[in-house]
Symmetry: C2
Subunit: 157 residues, 2 copies
DNA sequence: TTAACAACTGAATTATATTCTTTTATTCGT
DNA sequence: ACGAATAAAAGAATATAATTCAGTTGTTAA
């Protein structure tokens, strides 16, 4: 899949990343283009898998998900086999799963109600996964930033 | 701020988290309610800061941001002072900043073009921040999951 | 140079958002 | 339990937006 993006595409990406619910008419106004042309571009960006998804960010406190942690998971498996990673990804409390360099392991991001729920998850879900040797848990006290907005350059040259 | 959410709100949150660009008419159809009523609920959820933002997820490869890392940052500062965290958050490559328990530090998530750009960032931005004592970098080889969708319960009881 | 293709415009149509009034539910104090 | 006060929903009217498509312009490559 090819990603030939021009400056108009980048502007669209920037606006969409800042507010995914911006409407097409507003995009068109900002870009000084006809709405039909902008709509076509957005659809192409989706189809080319440049725009992957649109998420609403929900306040975790409002849903009683007060605890955030990162867990290093050491795994006994052949490098390249990502079965364990997929199993980790299936756990709903697990928001991110990253295969990391170094010692055959994963780094996962987990959101739970509280420390009890975390312990419960580790005992009942994590340790039940085949191949998991050990875990190391990092407790987040406070999150300063968590927007996951990537840098959209002015041009791609 | 109070968060009294009923089952309709939770359904809205679930749908919005799955697809932030769902339109109000479609929401209303799914809920079997009048569009005006649904619109009012969504606005209230925003106003109550339950719905915090709407993000488009952009394919980082399409923008040449091929490298993802997590960095532990040990900091020399009084616990509770979050000045360093705020400075870290200002760096555009830094997507997340978490204040972590244990050894006076932060865990940050960083996206760069490549390892060169990462080294550059560490040398020119990170180490220039007052109070940063040391860093430990975790390189992500592959990301299995990264949707950051939290669990929306069926009811809050 | 021109055929083929891609992107854009503008207009028409269909659908949605938004506002406001009326009606229906819910909550709360007594 | 009752009615007043408040909140939520419906419905209708209007304003905006999405979508489609035919026609135009621009770009690319033989």
């Amino acid at each position: 899949m090819e990603y030939k993006l021009d400056e108009i595409d980048l502007k669209i990406l920037r606006m969409m990343q800042d507010n995914a619910r911006i409407n097409n008419a507003e995009l068109a106004r900002e870009l000084g283009m006809a709405p039909s042309a902008v709509l076509e571009r957005v659809k192409k960006l989706e189809q080319k898998e440049v725009l992957l998804a649109y998420y609403a960010k929900i306040n975790p406190i409002a849903l009683n998900q007060k605890m955030l942690s990162f867990i290093f998971i050491k795994v006994d498996e052949i490098i390249g086999d990502e079965r364990t990673g997929r199993l980790l990804a299936e756990i709903p409390e697990v928001l991110e799963v990253h295969d990391i360099a170094g010692d055959d392991g994963y780094l996962i991001k987990v959101r739970t109600q509280d420390s009890l729920a975390l312990v419960h998850l580790m005992r009942n879900s994590l340790s039940k996964i085949d191949g998991v040797i050990s875990t190391r848990t990092i407790i987040v006290l406070q999150t300063v930033k968590e927007d996951n907005k990537i840098i959209v350059p002015v041009s791609l040259d």
